[in-house]
Symmetry: C2
Subunit: 239 residues, 2 copies
DNA sequence: CGTTCGTTTGAACGACCTCAACGATCGTGG
DNA sequence: CCACGATCGTTGAGGTCGTTCAAACGAACG
């Protein structure tokens, strides 16, 4: 399952066999996390980061009245909280949105790794900068896209990210989230998400049902979202 | 003027005289950038990062119909595009919102610096992760805060960030942006920003006029915004 | 087989937008 | 020095997108 993490890196940068081996050696014990359970609390001092082996996880923050906003989604192969390596504690919570299998990676091992392989340090730095790039695209979505485009954009982003690690295909992918989860990702109410999903379905663009995103018209979906994958930095760069 | 950059770092982490000297040695030539002029284009391969010595700069993205969304604001002492060190090209534009003085820092110098001082590498990594943390707070703002809270939150954030580098005081600070700029930061129209500013003024909380944010009731402003500075990681940590 | 959780739909409301007009300020050029 | 255009701020009226509230339905699960 670490393979997905390696695949994710290789999609953007070459990785030697030696580097791959060194990365694999850092991976600590794995554990299962149940749906909707929090596996990293905000504000707690951390000495490890968490790799998503399987399932979908979310970073979220909430306001006093209980309104919750998901700020990032994580798919298999992603580090959910690599940024805790430098931040030491997080400003948000990490929660499993589906049953997840995660592996702990001690910060001390990451420190050793990047000392021995400084280039991997930059690759991991890149990875957190990629998270930031996705955050910016989300700011753009929440700021100027309407509900239809926001939802469409999320479907596009997840499609690309999952395909990178060998999950899903051109026709769609498994995404076992509730409409409530989607609403919390997009800054909308579940009611409005429901109506927007219906519109997308009736337009023959995409169907979200039974934990699966079925893309029936990729070009249209992309157009509605104004999705430009540039911000995912997919063109390999030697760094 | 580099002093603000040093102050910004010292607000979060200790810095030895030797480290400070090494950082100062990386700073390249400075230049002036006029209001509303772009100093880093999207998609262009970069070999340097840009330090803001003076003035306010913004990262923005826009959609086809011309709708613009600012994804981050930068104050003196900030690197506007340190992330280009690993990303190599940016997914967004960098523009001066007020007359700015900026300094170029060659990526090769940064590479040398962090090779000689690995801890500074982590501090700079931290800095980009801090940017990401602010992005997340912006996602939260755009997702769940209403117009009044969004604007109030921005005023709070900038207040704290400017005070860190010795600009402004408890009563307020200079912020020479137009209401249009503010609107593009908050995903609102200029008209609605205008009305919201009036409300904040009439409530006796904050006045935005003549390029200045005058905070008349910090507690109220903070309450309206539900501003919690946690995400700015101000408690010094040895790393 | 009742309870719970998510989905779906309707009706009414409200926050924010659009369009439009006018005023103030300021730099520029006649 | 004044006229002019440009830019920004301000206000009003009306429209729309998304919300709130409410209710009914289906599926999953003990």
């Amino acid at each position: 399952m670490i393979a997905r993490h390696i695949a994710r890196i290789r999609a953007r940068h070459p990785l030697s066999a030696e580097e791959e081996q060194a990365i694999r050696a850092t991976i600590g014990p794995a554990r299962d996390v149940a749906t909707h359970s929090v596996f990293i609390e905000a504000g707690v001092r951390l000495d490890h980061s968490t790799l998503i082996l399987d399932g979908i996880a979310a970073r979220y923050k909430d306001l006093r009245d209980g309104q919750r906003q998901v700020t990032a989604l994580h798919v298999p192969g992603d580090f959910a909280d690599l940024h805790s390596f430098t931040l030491k504690r997080l400003d948000h919570v990490l929660m499993a949105l589906t049953p997840c299998r995660v592996a702990m990676v001690a910060h001390s091992r990451i420190a050793d790794l990047i000392e021995r392989f400084p280039r991997l340090g930059r690759l991991y730095w890149f990875s957190t900068n990629l998270d930031a790039s996705m955050h910016r695209e989300w700011v753009l979505s929440m700021g100027v896209r309407d509900a239809l485009a926001r939802i469409a954009h999320l479907f596009c982003e997840v499609q690309v990210r999952l395909q990178l690690v060998g999950l899903g295909d051109a026709s769609g992918y498994a995404l076992n989230l509730s409409q409530i989860d989607l609403a919390e990702c997009r800054g909308l109410t579940a009611v409005h998400v429901n109506r927007s999903l219906r519109r997308l379905r009736e337009m023959g663009v995409v169907t979200f049902r039974a934990g699966r995103v079925e893309i029936t018209d990729w070009a249209a979906l992309r157009a509605i979202a104004e999705f430009d994958p540039d911000y995912l930095y997919l063109d390999p760069d030697p760094l």
